[in-house]
Amino acid sequence: MTELSSTGFPLTDFTPVASFLGGALIGLSAVLMLLVEGRIAGISGIASRLLPPYRDDGFAGRLAFIAGLIAAPFLVGAVTGAPVVQTVSSNLLLMLAAGLLVGFGAVWGGGCTSGHGVCGLARLSPRSFIATGVFMTTGFLTVFLMRHVIGG
């Protein structure tokens, strides 16, 4: 059983080294994307262009990138011998609303945690600093409301 906090949410370990190294791999993927393809590695840009209308011939490459994302936890599981652990809410109405907001908001704002939060900040883009500041703020506020005002 996962240990729970006093307010009933699963506790997670502070993992600065693994998180920094994992972040570095994300950054490396973004650098190689620019070096090889000349593009920004923004997941919402890649995923949203899997849907019509199609404006270029990049469909197969985008599908392959997403397939790589999907395959990653299975590679980790095969190498470490332990399945990847995660806790996803089983409140399906909440997850439906969350998915709609994340998808709409990412495309409407021209990027998500990867496009603005990693690639944009690394390019010192003023737009990305604003976008990242805004989604971090509403993220903090949403969790505060859900966990400490409304309650689980």
């Binding site: 490396l28 620019l34 997850m95 998915g99 859900m146």
Partner: protein, 138 residues
């Protein structure tokens, strides 16, 4: 060639998400829970990613062109409009509700949790709606 490169880059990106813990919504939500079970790990994910990308982008952009494309395609916009506030504001609310942003949602897809299987199609529908609305408004 490009397909294989993209598969490898997606895999590398996904390995980073899994190793860093960002693929676990519980860890994301604890990062966002400053007043409760705060877990600062995600600041280190962002730190590692931005540091490597910052240095790597500088090196890469000293080249004339990318290896497999005729030219670099970088965003050029610098204007601040309402969409740049409204979009990320909605995105952050959804992120705080579910603990998923787009990358981790895809790495979670094959693990088959019901919440993920609802989230990913809803996210794609939201993306499609935003593109359609943006095209109608011109």
């Amino acid at each position: 060639m490009s397909v294989l490169v993209n598969l490898a880059l997606g895999l590398l990106f996904g390995l980073g998400l899994v190793l860093s813990g960002m693929s676990d919504p519980a860890k994301v939500l604890n990062f966002l829970d400053l007043a409760g079970s705060f877990d600062p790990s995600l600041a280190f994910v962002m730190g590692g990613a931005v540091l490597v990308a910052f240095l790597g982008y500088r090196l890469t952009l000293t080249r004339e062109r990318p290896l497999l494309a005729p030219r670099f395609q970088l965003p050029t916009r610098r204007d601040i409009d309402a969409r740049l506030i409204i979009g990320p504001a909605l995105f952050g609310i959804g992120w705080g509700l579910g603990g998923f942003c787009p990358g981790p949602a895809f790495t979670a897809l094959g693990l088959g949790e019901a919440g993920t299987l609802v989230f990913v199609p809803a996210m794609l529908a939201g993306m499609w709606a935003a593109r359609a609305l943006a095209e109608r408004r011109g």
